[in-house]
Symmetry: C2
Subunit: 278 residues, 2 copies
């Protein structure tokens, strides 16, 4: 069951927001989907966008500037929420833990384990639902994301090499094992055994043998989180050691905001479209 | 004095938000400006965007999708607020009167007359300030806007034919004399003498002899306000009678939202750029 919350014609296609009861999180979940104009019966590739801390589907939907490029290339754009929501979902006062900060993991620690199953939601449940309700060709999927969502995109792709034909990220957290955001979130959701965190750390996954066929990353040089949280250099090193063809671009003067993301969104959509056979 | 509230690099240029003490409104006023990358010493044309009911500068700044096109054509994009703000500014409980609903008039009625002087602000004060602080060529100005701001763009241009080389609008209120929004706002700000309203009614201004060299309007057919408030047909008639070369496009299935505006924003920026000698 998929409930339509809103639909607007935009750039020739339809931008919608939808809600459904999720078995992964045990809550209602909301996501947005842009479906470009297409021939009846056609199946389009899909680009997943995982959002960053504090975001819902709405941030990229309103500020991401992806629709023109997705309409041009014929790509569906899918933006999930960043955590379960609702009154019976536990939360933390901080912006970087609890609601709005699911980190795309399956939590094992209390009180988080019951609802915080964003890995299962993104990997298992949502693609099936999307395949049932939208004209999606699930053999042509790409994934990207921003910050915490860049971490989500990289790690989801590294764990599921057969699912995604293309992977990119905007200012991703590249190694939760090596930054305060990661220490707090993975420690809280997964507990103190750091070995368990490696499945949620892009650099550790690469070190442990996971591979991407290629990778596009944009990172602003004026991003306040670059030095202490994002640590792009660690991903550059990991890709070099592993022989991953990574195009990791340091963008001069850009910060961590959607003004940055939207500047390079059309580039990313075109890059994915090329690899998704558009 | 211009205070910088924020600046972000975006699409190669700078998206900023600025505040200043306005002599027109007797309040602080906030606006946004996007300045594309440009050669040192260059002066760029400017496109003014007047926003609709309930908006501040922020709505179009975040959702308008104008930066890529403005960067491509070398056009500065200027988005003022829609009314004075502040604790000592009178307000009304409704969304369509008082704060967020200045209607681009100089109010003559109490308690509005002291602060609600958006006509003087947009026509007189703000262009001077912008000319002093940004690399603007004030001989090359265009104006557009949405809904109440479309009304503002049309009427400001009709009253100032020497200032604007290009005029367009998204789903404008074309005749406040003939719709509930106009009755309420112009009645409240200007009083019951309807003759005084004609300076703020695009169709009446045209009927009274004002002219535009050309005009581009986009209007969604699924816009809930089309029939009772916007009444695009009245503008079509007025332009036909007056011999104004108007391209008024009814866009099938589009509503009143920024999903509509952003779909045609690049078209409008290109249209203005051509007429502003870009």
């Amino acid at each position: 069951m998929l409930e339509t919350l809103e639909e607007h014609r935009s750039h020739g296609g339809v931008q919608g927001v939808y809600r459904h009861a999720s078995s992964s999180t045990g809550t209602d979940m909301t996501f947005s989907a842009f479906v470009p104009e297409h021939d009846a019966g056609a199946k389009l590739p899909v680009l997943w966008f995982l959002s960053g801390l504090t975001c819902t589907h709405a941030n990229v939907t309103e500020k991401g500037e992806y629709r023109a490029a997705c309409a041009e290339h014929g790509v569906i754009f899918l933006a999930p929420d960043t955590s379960p929501r609702g009154e019976d979902v536990p939360d933390d006062e901080a912006y970087d833990f609890g609601k709005g900060a699911g980190f795309y993991v399956d939590a094992t620690q209390e009180p988080w384990a019951r609802h915080f199953a964003m890995r299962s939601y993104i990997e298992g449940e949502l693609p099936v639902l999307v395949g049932e309700h939208f004209p999606v060709d699930l053999d042509r999927q790409g994934i990207t994301g921003h910050s915490m969502g860049g971490h989500g995109a990289l790690t989801t792709a590294l764990r599921n090499p057969d699912r995604f034909a293309s992977v990119s990220a905007f200012s991703p957290i590249v190694s939760p094992l090596n930054c305060p955001w990661g220490e707090k979130a993975l420690g809280g959701y997964l507990g103190p055994v750091r070995e368990a965190w490696r499945a949620y750390d892009a650099c550790a996954l690469i070190e442990d043998g996971a591979r991407l066929p290629h990778l596009l990353v944009d990172q602003g040089t004026a991003d306040d989180f670059l030095e202490n949280q994002l640590k792009t250099g660690l991903l550059v090193e990991a890709c070099e050691k592993a022989g991953i063809a990574a195009d990791i671009r340091m963008q001069d003067g850009y910060d961590h905001s959607y003004y940055f993301i939207s500047s390079f969104m059309a580039d990313h959509v075109a890059w994915h479209a090329q690899r998704l056979g558009c």
